[in-house]
Subunit: 412 residues, 2 copies
């Protein structure tokens, strides 16, 4: 199956899915089973960039209850020069206090030894249950196993080790033909549309053999995250552990200079990669059938964003999306709620290009014909508010029985 | 079954459920079948206060997409002297534009004639599908039928006529022994915990034969709505049609003077009535099993409110409540999300009086013992944030398969 599957992702002509598996030059990875997940599944991943000149950039959750590994990486690692990544699944190491911070720091130290790099160049990440102390010894034992298995083709095991409730793998290997030459761009991500309470987190690791200054990597990652992972709403919940890392080994010898053609071309490739990964996260999950995209336009930036969030997070809109129901009254309700307290708003609504409401009122339309349009894997809603100049988009999951089954039927 | 069933409602000693059915002196009501609902069910209600000196107070949805009847009542009725109420179910008359406003005004005029009062003393309310033009002729025909059936015992039919997806009736008749004498206090409400997209709305009509100045009625209604309907979160959605009315006929001859003992005693009775009705709305709905109460305390008013809303609206917390799952990691996640962007917050969490997290980290506790405590119809969560001086509560519904069935499985 092709990695790029969404009509909402523009794939530049110079980007191709690679026929060859494996990480870009300068990277090795592995996964190991450390006993954190049941049944001997892979649950510890190690990824190493061997080039000392490797540059990097990072983004983290904005949660006010950040997990210990997020705090440790943010405060105690050189985010511009990350060489190694140590990840565990099965335990989030969140709400674990001082002991949890110590354990994350210990894992960082051990990963440095395993990767043969200074611990200050190691990022640590966790995903899994919240509020249970992490047994760092298990993670460290897993890292030692992974160390022996490190190889360029280890991204598949690494990706498996970070998965929790994911129904399918989210991994890509791209060839990018920049004006300056061909580079490789790979990524491994996890995160399920139906984020499960004990396994909630979005993690994404991106590698390239292009040579980027750390500032360039940071700029591009920041812009692309804003257009991808910042624009998906699964269930309106913010994880304690979200982490996105970009590492650039430079091993291809192709330099991406700031403010040139190569930066633009590389940025567009990274943008397509992250947007497709974000859409896969929104699409994943028990019982998920469809992904919605809401686009809101209007003259007030705050109102435009609030309406987009309200539509994307509305359980009424999400269940309608799941059921293939074109009832746009649910969208009208979300708009009214988002702008509560203001005068009646003359909103417009279009579903899959069909205008259903204009100036705040129903447009006589063929709602039965509309039903066929919303019975698709991707459904688009466009909302117009008064004024011009601001436009935002959000991608969101539907809400079906699978969500309830995962989150209510089985106690965690 | 007793009306007062929740441990979260304090019932004053001077309030008793009345053995006698029917409205307070000075009121008559009726319901009629006008063909807006399928199957000949009651769908138009008329309530009349015969005393010319009747006072009233009203509260409406804050939605920026208010329904036509909300706009018409708010702008074209004397809210301090409402004599009649005309309600229809089966159609919300929302997102219906200029034509919808005209239709609501026509219904107001016809109800004035049917009730023998000036139309400016008529409130109109609708509940049902959004975005479909209301056939006012049907409503008016229903009002004429109802007119002939008006009687003091008509509150039962009136309550039936305003129901939509409600699984049970929400109606009360109380005797209130004020220092100045006994008065009667009755109410009819609708609203289902699992608010259905096409039938979303909370309506509540309250009558008393006590004599209150309009300013007193307005003050008491405002305070009590803030502690009841403003504190329930069903699915985080705000209806286009929410309306709460209080009418005081004065026919008992018992006056409730401002700032006296009677006002205090009457206010406490009204408070208990509205809180219990709000809890019934939260408890109602397909598949709903439990009602949660979250209490948040801390030093920052905005943060306290944001955290309470985040917990009450979190689909992860709601599914946990449904499943009887004591997993408090979902609450930690909601807190972190609500305060996103701030430094790590040392939150405390207690479930049913059992401390599970302190200073942002897990307290070693018997989570299995806790499971029995959350397997109840009412579950209480207390969150402590840094500082003192602010406390808010919110009541919320759980999220189970019934919600998905009502909202996704059947297209509307």
């Amino acid at each position: 199956m092709s990695f790029f599957g969404s009509r909402w992702v523009e794939v530049p002509a110079w980007v191709a899915e690679s026929a060859e598996p494996g990480l870009p030059r300068g990277f090795r990875a592995a996964g190991a089973a450390a006993g954190l997940k049941a049944g001997g599944a892979l649950d510890v991943g190690l990824l190493v960039a061997d080039e000392p000149a490797t540059t990097s950039a990072a983004r983290f959750t904005a949660s006010a209850a950040p997990a210990a590994p997020v705090q440790v990486t943010r405060e105690r690692a050189d985010l511009a020069a990350l060489r190694a990544v140590a990840v565990n699944s099965g335990n989030a190491n969140a709400a674990t206090g001082r002991a949890g911070l110590d354990e994350a720091a210990r894992v960082q130290g051990a990963a440095g030894v395993a990767a043969r790099v200074d611990p200050a160049h190691v990022a640590v990440c966790s995903t899994g249950v919240i509020g249970v102390q992490l047994d760092g010894r298990k993670v460290i034992a897993g890292l030692l196993k992974a160390q022996e298995a490190l190889r360029a083709g280890g991204d598949e095991d690494f990706a498996a080790a970070i998965m929790t409730t994911d129904a399918f793998e989210k991994r890509a290997a791209l060839d990018v033909d920049l004006p300056a030459g061909r580079v490789r761009l790979t990524a491994q991500a996890k995160g399920a549309g139906m984020i499960s309470p004990s396994f909630a987190t979005m993690l994404c690791f991106v590698q390239t053999d292009a040579a980027l200054e750390a500032e360039t990597a940071d700029l591009l990652l920041g812009v692309c995250v804003k257009r991808s992972f910042d624009r998906i709403s699964v269930d309106g919940q913010l994880s304690t552990n979200d982490t996105v890392l970009l590492q650039c080994s430079g091993a291809s010898g192709v330099a991406v200079a700031p403010e040139g053609e190569d930066e633009l071309a590389f940025g567009q490739a990274l943008d397509a990669l992250l947007r497709q990964l974000a859409l896969l996260i929104a699409a994943d999950g028990e019982g998920a059938r469809r992904v919605g995209r809401v686009v809101v336009r209007g003259g007030n930036a705050g109102g435009v964003e609030a309406v987009a969030r309200a539509v994307a997070d509305s359980p009424l809109v999400k269940t309608a999306l799941h059921g293939g129901d074109p009832n746009w009254g649910r969208i009208a309700q979300a708009i009214g709620g988002a702008l509560a307290g203001s005068a009646p708003v003359p909103f417009d609504i279009a579903i899959e290009g069909v205008q259903v409401a204009s100036g705040g009122q129903a447009v006589r339309g063929d709602l039965e014909g509309l039903a066929a349009l919303v019975d698709r894997p991707e459904v688009e809603y466009v909302v117009g508010l008064p004024g011009d100049g601001h436009e935002v988009e959000l991608f969101f999951s539907d809400l079906g029985h699978g969500y309830v089954s995962v989150n209510a039927d089985y106690t965690s």
